[in-house]
């Protein structure tokens, strides 16, 4: 990469973002450059803060479950599952086993669509747009199945405190199975296209390195950590929902035959192989799903009054497509939780950008940034208000215009 030629010029600073074509979500980067080489990297998240934790502390758990769907556009079930699990521990709710299986099925479908979305973005960042179109076209099939099960493409609204809101009936199995078979047939092609392509290999191998030690020290999670050889997968390590019943093991890049380098290429390997793993998990769950109810309590007032009486604190975790997602909830006998802390997966992974980016070329920044599959809306949650853009419109003005427009459309 860098040939180490000393330059006479002092390092100059290149800002990228908050809004930039190479970034899919707003985040600001500052690079101190020496020639084409990044000497020092820094970034400022917080550009999409919405104050969701603060909002949650003024709402009851059932309202929050639906709010959690909206933390992230891609992880529609991750946050609601983690939050529901935390509340269930405090209130001491036993989730029916069937609901646990449905939760796992939808979480794995989400992993498939998220990893394929990422694969498309990665191909696009490398300028391989045919592959980007292919990945996003096949992703639609999982989106269709998600819609078929939950009624929505995003914001599924499936998880409820104490279970799930919709059942998966045997009549639905053929459609789901057809989709899964499609992915199984496709996987070989995807692996071949991504991993045996010369351009992708040249651009991704030894790019954006994250060593095992760094990944461990920085507490990285998910495919980013696993690509660096950290054996860590909440689904395997910490039995929850129906994952405890399954015989699965974490996927490391060595599963594809190579060594573990912790580069962008390894992250592609891990994610693609996880799609295959998810297909297997869904099939097993469909087969072994026990009969029974899907909700602990279907009457919301009863559920809410149980939540209102509860005291205590708990953590709910889930292995999201990007890694561990953790919700800490404390309840003190009021309708709204006393404290709610959301730790999204990217929160743990953003740090790893700095060791990955330093010493790389500016042109490799987009693929390295994308390689951890950053989800900034997940991470940025907490700002309560923002004055933004001193000389342009204030957010209040924009918001007012937006509300007015909604009203005009509704004609009221």
């Amino acid at each position: 990469m860098s040939d180490g030629t000393p330059t006479k010029k002092a390092p100059y600073v290149v800002p990228i973002g908050p809004i930039h074509p190479a970034l899919k979500e707003p985040v600001q980067f500052l690079f101190e450059m020496e020639g084409e080489v990044v000497k020092k990297a820094d970034f400022a998240p917080g550009q999409t803060h919405r104050g969701i934790e603060w909002m949650g502390m003024h709402r009851n758990p059932v309202q929050i479950v639906h709010l959690t769907d909206r933390i992230c556009g891609i992880c529609g079930v991750t946050h609601s599952l983690a939050f529901a699990r935390a509340v269930e521990q405090i209130v001491d709710i036993e989730v029916p086993a069937r609901a646990d299986y449905i939760r796992v099925i939808i979480a794995e479908l989400e992993r498939i669509q998220s990893h394929l979305l990422w694969a498309g973005v990665a191909a696009h960042e490398l300028g391989f747009d045919t592959l980007f179109y292919l990945a996003w076209r096949v992703r639609e099939e999982s989106m269709d199945v998600i819609e078929y099960i939950t009624g929505n493409r995003i914001n599924y609204g499936l998880v409820q405190v104490g279970g799930v809101r919709r059942d998966i009936v045997p009549d639905q199995h053929p459609t789901i199975k057809k989709c899964l078979d499609g992915y199984r047939d496709l996987l070989g092609k995807m692996l071949n296209l991504f991993l045996n392509d010369t351009t992708i290999s040249i651009r991704c191998k030894d790019t954006g390195l994250l060593t095992f030690e760094k990944a461990l020290e920085l507490s990285c999670v998910g495919p980013t950590a696993r690509a660096s050889g950290v054996v860590k997968d909440v689904r395997v390590d910490y039995p929850y929902s129906a994952y405890g019943d399954l015989d699965i093991s974490p996927i490391l890049p060595s599963a594809y035959g190579g060594g573990i380098n912790g580069d962008v290429y390894d992250r592609i390997v891990v994610r693609l192989l996880e799609v295959a793993q998810s297909v297997e998990i869904i099939e097993t769950c469909l087969k072994e799903m026990p009969d029974g109810p899907i909700l602990w309590e279907s009457k919301l007032p009863k559920l809410l009054s149980a939540c209102k009486k509860a005291h205590g604190e708990a953590v709910g975790r889930h292995e999201a497509p990007r890694g561990e997602c953790l919700h800490y909830v404390a309840m003190d006998g009021h309708e709204a939780p006393a404290m709610w802390k959301v730790k999204a997966s990217s929160y743990s992974n953003l740090h790893s950008w700095i060791p990955m980016l330093e010493g790389e070329q500016l042109a490799d920044v987009p693929i390295i940034v994308a390689s951890i599959d950053p989800c900034l809306s997940c991470t940025d949650r907490v700002a309560v208000l923002r004055g933004v853009k001193r000389d342009l419109m204030t957010k209040e003005d924009l918001h007012r215009l937006s509300v007015e427009k909604t009203r005009r459309i509704q004609g009221c």
């Binding site: 998240p45 086993a97 860590k232 390590d237 039995p239 929850y240 405890g244 604190e313 740090h351 004055g387």
Partner: protein, 219 residues
């Protein structure tokens, strides 16, 4: 990871033996889910600020921990900070969550940085400074993380006392008034003709058509 794996009780015993009274309220929370009810383990311990770093170092000796996040809970007279770790990951069904609660009195909101032991803690320590007003001593990078530059000083969004978000900073959606000075939408003229048909149809179905029909055309 390590050669011997401690049971949750052994782990707590090791902490209480080393730190004595400074560790209080240890509890093991076990949760079993799924059809096979395989249990997962959460270990909670309340520790004082002085032994925070020794406790984390000790955890590191047992097994390299993963720091999920530092959380906080404003309970009124004190602030409880939760250091949420997990150890023994990589062992199938063997991971424990270890959660240290560090209570801080409101007059003395100071914590030592743990970034020298766990470099990944920087992010969450920066967040705790801006969200709870806790001072992290020797933090290598004390800038704000999520809050914008022009966010007022001395306001800590996740606090529940007078330093929390004041009501003046909250924008209520329902307080946004209806627009008064907007131009009339250009669709009004179109509305008259198509509106007649459905109105007549609904009117016919009803029992006393005439007064309602008149009222509606007046509108």
């Amino acid at each position: 990871m390590n050669e011997t794996i401690l049971t949750p009780q052994e782990l707590i015993d090791r902490f209480t033996r080393t730190f004595g009274d400074l560790v209080s309220d240890p509890r093991i929370q076990i949760r079993a889910e799924g059809a096979k009810k395989n249990p997962n383990t959460n270990i909670w311990m309340t520790i004082t600020r002085d032994i925070l770093k020794p406790a984390i170092s000790m955890l590191k000796e047992i097994s390299y921990p993963h720091l999920s996040v530092i959380s906080g809970w404003d309970v009124g007279e004190e602030l409880r900070m939760q250091y949420i770790f997990s150890i023994y990951f990589g062992e199938r069904h063997g991971e424990y969550m270890v959660i240290f609660t560090v209570p801080l009195t409101k007059g003395d909101l100071v914590l030592p940085t743990i970034t020298d032991i766990m470099p990944g803690a920087l992010f969450t320590e920066r967040e705790k400074q801006e969200m709870f007003g806790v001072t992290i001593t020797d933090i290598p990078d004390g800038r704000r993380l999520f809050l914008p530059e022009d966010f007022p000083e001395g306001v800590y969004p996740l606090r529940k006392d007078e330093t929390g978000i004041p009501d003046t900073m909250v924008k209520h959606l329902w307080e946004v008034g209806r627009p008064t000075n907007r131009p009339v939408p250009p669709v009004t003229e179109k509305e008259e003709e198509p509106k007649d048909d459905p109105e007549e149809k609904t009117v016919k179905n009803k029992e006393n058509p005439s007064p309602e029909a008149e009222a509606k055309t007046d509108e």
